[in-house]
């Protein structure tokens, strides 16, 4: 086909697009994914029975708020990853800052209480924490990949990693409502691992799932 004919065909008909189409798609994916993830946690894990007492502990709020802040940074990052030509470095920094905050908190409290450092790090649930977070990340991961497939990620590996970053943070925030641990060192290490797993998976799967 001649290029000019192609152009005529593309420009024929209604060429208008609704603004905010991309934002709506990402918001829908995040909302739907997190709802499924929350339901999954309530059915499969159950909320922490001592949630009321835990709410008095600063570590509880740290392990809930840090992932939520990361979700807040990763949602716009995901949109930028789906838009050709948008810089993403600041989005990644915004996503990583709460992790750094958790580590600083862990180091600070660890220095104050060296004797129970190892016990705090292992807690009672260290074997299951990271994989539970990764499992609870799955609904949001699938939804994030779906939303990216409606956009145009020009770096599929990074876009997949971004989907994993959003999903891992969402999974960690949901898991924090089940998790009984109240040691900053525990949260820094095992939540960190749990949130990193979807990022790695997304970086590996992105080039396969996000072709257009």
């Amino acid at each position: 086909m001649k290029t000019d004919d192609l152009i005529d065909r593309l420009a024929a008909g209604n060429v208008a697009v609704p603004s905010h189409a991309a934002a709506r798609r990402v918001a829908l994916a995040l909302g739907g994914g997190m709802a499924v993830s929350l339901a999954l946690m309530l059915v499969g894990w159950g909320p922490n029975p001592a949630l009321a007492q835990a709410a008095g502990e600063p570590v509880f709020w740290a392990k809930l708020m840090a992932p939520l802040l990361m979700v807040g940074a990763a949602a716009p990052l995901l949109m930028r990853l789906g838009r050709p030509g948008m810089p993403t470095a600041s989005g990644w920094i915004g996503w990583a800052l709460p992790v750094i905050g958790l580590w600083l908190l862990a180091l600070g409290t660890g220095l104050l209480a060296l004797e129970d450092g190892a016990a705090g790090l292992q807690g009672r649930t260290w074997r299951t924490c990271s994989q539970s977070i990764a499992l609870l990340a799955l609904p949001v991961f699938g939804a994030a990949i779906w939303s990216l497939r409606g956009l145009a990620p020009v770096r599929p590996g990074w876009a997949g990693a971004g989907a994993g970053g959003l999903a891992g943070a969402a999974g960690a925030a949901v898991y924090a409502l089940h998790c009984p641990e109240l040691s900053a060192a525990f949260v820094a290490v095992w939540y960190g691992v749990g949130m990193a797993l979807p990022v790695v998976a997304g970086a590996l799967l992105g080039p396969r799932l996000l072709r257009w």
């Binding site: 086909m1 001649k2 290029t3 000019d4 004919d5 192609l6 152009i7 005529d8 593309l10 420009a11 024929a12 008909g13 209604n14 060429v15 208008a16 697009v17 609704p18 603004s19 189409a21 991309a22 789906g82 838009r83 050709p84 030509g85 948008m86 956009l151 145009a152 020009v154 257009w212």
Partner: protein, 204 residues
Amino acid sequence: MARTNTHQEAADTPVGVETALHRLLLAGLDGDGVAYRRFLQQLGARLRSFYRRRLPRWPDDVEDLVQETLMAVHRQRHTYRRDQPVTAWVHAIARYKTIDLLRSRQVREALHDPLDDATDILCGTADTDAFEARRDLARLLATLPDRQRLPIEQVKLQGRSVAEVAQSAGMSESAVKVGIHRGLKALAARIAARGSAGGEGPDT
């Protein structure tokens, strides 16, 4: 076919091109089909010279890539953010399509070509029709007999004088002139015949 405003070269600086493309695209996204068509035409010309410089070893792929990129731009126009430079957006898409092509051909060494200069799309010349025309002309010329083809090529395309060509080809000057005249007439007839028989091309 009517080609309105393909060569709007008034401001052929990077900033001027960006401004013009941005205005046309925004109008298009708001539903102005005419502006959108002009946007695609200007963009197509930029893309053509961009790809031709990027892929000197694959001249045959240039037009395919131009079309594929235009289709991608069209399909993904909802991913454009209105305050973003159009050229940055298109460049990222063009780069993705280039890598896609190179990867599909398993031509690894070509990936070492730097593809990261967004201003490149701005700097090339806008030759919308020149490439297609040259391709078509070469194909048509090949169908002519030598006594018509050579005079046309040398006088009309290379700009030599009739006397010069007559001497080097061992023809009389009037034979050269007659060859040009008949050859051009034959070309015109072929183009007309093709135009009426052509219609819709195969979808790519």
